[in-house]
Subunit: 238 residues, 2 copies
């Protein structure tokens, strides 16, 4: 029996069992310069000081895994309410040469326009093209590979690609995003057809002229409509 902060007595049931350091590591995706990128840090503490790594940190006693991931994401980006999903738990004994640490990886989808790039730079973080990020510490490369696979699976069957774009976006933008994710080109007629047939995008009256003289119509993902369709058994599929 011990007494906790609230003054209540607490029964300890599991004192005979080991406790282990638990960390979370975040694979933060962003879509910049028509490329899919992830946010990396130069590690500024041992072990592995100076090497590139994902953004991570230890889980505190008084926070859930999800809360820990959101906190770490917030500390680096200053953003809340970001798409964030658990990926996998890495449990090899020697994965961290310092001490034993179990790491739970999460992946996040950022709207980079919402980001204060100075804030990020202050932390020494940099955007790195997926597929071009060098050797990361520990098993972080594995985590990135896993995150990319998951991202591909999810963007195919769930309407989450929009999380990487501004709230208003054009069809060509969305197509370029998918081409960056899958590293292949899509036929633009087929892409539009399939996308618009799902009827989850709201066409706006304004055009985005930033990437062509003609301008492309802006669209917005209609989440309400998607939810309604989804309840009736509709499946997003691109």
């Amino acid at each position: 029996m011990t007494t906790n902060q609230m003054g209540q007595t607490e029964k300890k049931y599991y004192t005979q069992f080991a406790k282990i350091h638990v960390a979370v590591d975040c694979i933060i995706f962003g879509f910049l310069e028509n490329q899919l990128k992830i946010l990396l840090l130069k590690r500024n503490f041992e072990p592995g000081m100076g090497k590139l790594s994902l953004i991570g940190g230890f889980v505190k006693e008084e926070e859930s895994l999800d809360d820990a991931a959101a906190r770490i994401l917030y500390d680096l980006t200053g953003l809340k309410n970001v798409f964030l999903e658990q990926l996998y738990s890495h449990g090899k004994i020697d994965r961290d040469p310092g001490e034993r640490v179990i790491s739970v990886s999460y992946y996040a989808l950022l709207k980079v326009q919402d980001l204060d790039h100075d804030h990020v730079k202050k932390h020494g973080a940099r955007w790195c093209n997926i597929g071009e990020c060098q050797e990361l510490i520990f098993d972080h490369n594995e985590m990135v590979v896993g995150a990319l696979h998951r991202l591909r699976r999810m963007t195919k069957s769930q309407p989450i690609g929009f999380e990487l774009l501004p709230r208003k976006f054009t069809i060509p933008q969305l197509q370029m995003l998918y081409e960056a994710i899958y590293q292949k080109t899509f036929d633009n007629r087929n892409f539009r057809k399939k996308l618009l047939a799902m009827d989850v995008l709201e066409k706006l009256e304004t055009k985005d002229k930033s990437s062509s003289k003609k301008g492309a119509f802006l669209y917005r993902f209609d989440k309400k409509r998607y939810n309604k369709l989804h309840q009736d058994g509709f499946l997003f599929d691109l």
Copy 2:
């Protein structure tokens, strides 16, 4: 600095950070009486003594997550080399009313014929129809739901359904397994057609007469052939 069992000095990098109890819980699937079932225990310690729960245990300091899951599975079933895959890590602070415990769930696919049922019974475990298992402790019902979703996704796109059947099985058996997993019936002509077209089953000369007078031909999953096809880009899909 501390000294470990090997007499080497070890640097402790993370002493300032919290450690947490980590457990694994296994959703053990089996195919009995043409039903998909999971193996459950009456819990014999507090908290939650007497209630139904998944098979679980704490992760030891000197074992990986995967090893812990395999150990717990082995202790209950006496089986090794069982299909076992990590599912999800459950990290809410109060999920275990005893103390804070993070639980990593795994799901296993057993060939029930390999099982020593007496050994299992000695541990007080019982098979329970999926969908009919009452209230389990903590968040274990959630885990079961997650495992079933994962099983459905995986058996559709990977040749792992065979893990739930004897090495030699008939097509009608396999179809009944899939019907039990998806809780719906399949057209037997279409099922066979699609299955055999994938060309990953080896037809044997013997028949299984246990469920009909005519008898049904036995087949064996040809893993070598599957691996070869898979390397060339073939995707299993049922």
